[in-house]
C-alpha cells in the first residue's frame, strides 16, 4: 500500500475538566488522549472501538480538527494539520467530512433537506449545478427526490441518517469520520444504514474512520480495528486477526461481554471483567 492518508504520531488531547472547575478561574485540563500512534491507509475502513471514557470520540474530533491537539502530529496526505487555524483548514474541509451520531441534532430544524445537503457544496466552490449535485447525493443514499423540500421532522430516524451520509459524501471527500452513526437506530434500520455505508465506501474509494462501541458491527464493516481504553490504544490490527486471535486481555474481555443473539446457557455463568 502507498503512503497512508492519515499518519498520527504521539497524539495528545487535553480538554477542560468541568467537573473540577473551581468557583473562580479556569477548569483544569484533563488529558483525554495520552499519546496515540497509528496510520489510516488510503481507501481503508478502520474501526475505532472502546467503552465510554476511552477517548474514541475525542480522537475522531481531533482527526477532522474540530479539536486542536495539545501535543503530537496529525499528518493528512503528508501535511501536518494539527495546529492549522480555522481559516487554513477551510480548503481542507472538503476532504475531511463527518457523519454524526444523532441525526436529529445534526440536522438544523429550520433548513430544508436541500439546503442541508447544499451547504457544504456552496461553501466549497461547488455551488454551480447545485440542484443536480443535491439530486445525485439523494439518489446515492436511496432517498426520493421529493425529500429535498422536506424538513428533518418529516423524516424517520433512518432517513435522517441517510441525509447525514448524503451531506458528508456530497463533496466526494477523501476521508469520512463516522461517529457512532447507528447507535441510536433500531436493528433493522441499522443494518440498512451499514450496508449503505459499506457499499458507498467501496464505490467511492473512501477512507473511513468508523467509531463504535459495538464490535459486531465493526467486524462486518472494517478492515482494520483500533481498540482504545482510557485514552490509549490497547490493540490495533487487521480485523480478522483481532477477532480470531485477540492478543490483549482487554480485547478478549470486550468480545466475551457481547451478548450474541443465540442460546448459550454458560454465558451468564462466566464472570464479567471488573
Amino acid at each position: 500500500m502507498a503512503e497512508p492518508l492519515f499518519s498520527v504520531r504521539g497524539l495528545k488531547v487535553a480538554l477542560p475538566d468541568m467537573t473540577r472547575k473551581p468557583l473562580i478561574g479556569r477548569a483544569p485540563l484533563a488529558e483525554i488522549l495520552k499519546g496515540l500512534d497509528f496510520d489510516l491507509p488510503k481507501g481503508s475502513v478502520t474501526g475505532i472501538v472502546g467503552e465510554s471514557g476511552s477517548g474514541k470520540s475525542t480522537l475522531g474530533r481531533a482527526l477532522v480538527r474540530l479539536l486542536e491537539p495539545s501535543a503530537g502530529a496529525i499528518s493528512f496526505e503528508g501535511r501536518d494539520i494539527s495546529h492549522l487555524s480555522e481559516a487554513e483548514l477551510r480548503p481542507l474541509r472538503r476532504n475531511l467530512q463527518m457523519i454524526f451520531q444523532d441525526p436529529m441534532s445534526s440536522l438544523n430544524p429550520r433548513h430544508t433537506i436541500f439546503n442541508i445537503i447544499a451547504a457544504p457544496l456552496r461553501q466549497n466552490g461547488l455551488g454551480d449545478r447545485l440542484k443536480e449535485r443535491v439530486a445525485e447525493a439523494l439518489q446515492r443514499v436511496g432517498l426520493p427526490q421529493t425529500f429535498a423540500s422536506r424538513y428533518r421532522h418529516e423524516l424517520s430516524g433512518g432517513q435522517r441518517q441517510r441525509v447525514g451520509i448524503a451531506r458528508a459524501l456530497a463533496l466526494s471527500p477523501k476521508f469520512v469520520l463516522a461517529d457512532e452513526i447507528v447507535s441510536g437506530l433500531d436493528v433493522s434500520t441499522q443494518a440498512q444504514i451499514l450496508t449503505l455505508l459499506e457499499k458507498l465506501a467501496a464505490e467511492m474509494g473512501l477512507t473511513v474512520a468508523f467509531i463504535s462501541h459495538d464490535l459486531s458491527v465493526i467486524r462486518r464493516l472494517c478492515q482494520r480495528v483500533i481498540v482504545m481504553r482510557e485514552g490509549r490504544i490497547v490493540e490495533a490490527s487487521a480485523t480478522d486477526a483481532l477477532f480470531d486471535n485477540p492478543q490483549e486481555t482487554y480485547t478478549r474481555d470486550l468480545l466475551a461481554a457481547i451478548p450474541l443473539p443465540e442460546i448459550d446457557a454458560d454465558w451468564l455463568q462466566q464472570k464479567a471483567p471488573a
Partner: protein, 292 residues
C-alpha cells in the same frame, strides 16, 4: 397456581383514536423471566407502564384485563390498585441517573420506598437495604449510602436501583431496558446480577428490551412485539432455534454477530414489513373496542 402477571387482550388508544396496543396477551409465571422485545414504537415500554399503573394520561385502555397474582386490577378502586401494585411490583428503570433525585443521598432514597409505601420501620429498612447492597456486590455500602447520585458510576447507580427493586421482595419486577445505557462489560455484570437475584429471590421479571442478544441470555420466555401487537411468543430457546414469524426471523438476521459477520446485519426485507402492516390494517378494520 395463578400466573404472576396475566395480561388478556389489552388494547389502548391515543386521543386521536390511533391504537397503540392491539389485543396484547401475555403471562409471566412466578419466578420466570419473560422478555418483551421490539423496535422503537412497538409499545413494549407502554406495556411495562400499564402493568405499573403509570401510563401517560393521553393513553386510554379500551379493553382487556390485567391480573397480578390472580387479582384483576380493573376490579379494584384506584387506591386498592395502587396498594397492590406498590406491594407486589417494582421497576428497574432504563436511565439510573434520571431515576434518582440528584439532590438527595442514595441511602435516603433507597429506604424511602420501604418506609413510606410499605410502612417499615427505619431500622428494618436500613438493615434490609444493606443486605441487598451486599447481594449486588457493593463492597463499601457506607460510602454508597452517603453518596449523591452523580458521585457514582453508571454501573454503580444501576446496582443501587436493582438492590432497591428487590428490597421489598416484590413478586414481579418490570425491567425497562435496564442495560441499554451501559457499556458492554458493565452490561454483562448487571445482567449477571439481575439473573442471580432473580433466581435467589424467585422473582418474576418482565424484561423490556430492544436487544435480541440480551433476550437470548436472560429470558426463558419471549414475546416479540411489532406496532403494539404480539407477533410471536415462545420459549426463548425455541424462538432462536426455530423462529416462526417472518418478522422474528428478519429481526434475528438483522442483529449483528461478530462471529458471523456476513450472515448477520441483513436489512429487513420490505415485503416482511409490508405483510405485517397489511396484517395489522386488516385486524384494525374489524376491530371495535370490546368486541375484538
Amino acid at each position: 397456581m395463578s400466573a404472576c402477571l396475566d395480561i388478556r387482550g389489552l388494547s389502548a388508544v391515543l386521543p386521536n383514536g390511533q391504537r397503540v396496543l392491539r389485543s396484547v396477551s401475555l403471562t409471566v409465571q412466578p419466578g420466570e423471566v419473560r422478555a418483551l422485545v421490539g423496535e422503537s414504537g412497538a409499545g413494549k415500554t407502554m406495556i411495562g407502564k400499564a402493568v405499573l399503573g403509570v401510563l401517560p394520561k393521553s393513553v386510554r385502555i379500551v379493553e382487556g384485563e390485567m391480573l397480578i397474582e390472580g387479582e384483576d386490577l380493573g376490579r379494584l378502586d384506584a387506591k386498592a390498585r395502587r396498594t397492590l401494585i406498590g406491594a407486589r411490583t417494582a421497576l428497574i428503570p432504563q436511565d439510573p441517573l434520571t431515576a434518582l433525585n440528584p439532590s438527595r443521598r442514595i441511602g435516603a432514597q433507597m429506604t424511602d420506598r420501604l418506609v413510606r409505601i410499605l410502612g417499615w420501620s427505619g431500622e428494618r429498612a436500613d438493615t434490609r437495604i444493606r443486605q441487598l447492597l451486599d447481594e449486588v456486590q457493593i463492597r463499601d455500602p457506607e460510602r454508597v449510602l452517603k453518596s449523591y447520585p452523580h458521585e457514582l458510576s453508571g454501573g454503580m447507580r444501576q446496582r443501587v436501583l436493582i438492590a432497591a427493586a428487590f428490597a421489598a421482595e416484590p413478586r414481579l419486577i418490570v425491567a425497562d431496558e435496564p442495560t441499554t445505557a451501559l457499556d458492554v462489560t458493565v452490561q454483562k455484570q448487571i445482567l449477571r446480577l439481575i439473573a442471580q437475584l432473580q433466581r435467589d429471590h424467585g422473582t418474576a421479571i418482565l424484561f423490556v428490551t430492544h436487544d435480541l442478544g440480551v433476550v437470548a441470555k436472560i429470558s426463558q420466555k419471549v414475546s416479540v412485539l411489532y406496532a403494539g401487537k404480539v407477533v410471536e411468543e415462545a420459549e426463548t430457546t425455541q424462538l432462536f432455534d426455530a423462529p416462526q414469524h417472518p418478522y422474528t426471523r428478519a429481526l434475528i438476521a438483522a442483529t449483528p454477530r461478530y462471529t458471523d459477520p456476513y450472515a448477520s446485519l441483513k436489512p429487513v426485507d420490505e415485503a416482511v414489513l409490508a405483510g405485517l402492516s397489511a396484517e395489522i390494517a386488516a385486524a384494525d378494520q374489524d376491530w371495535r373496542p370490546g368486541h375484538g
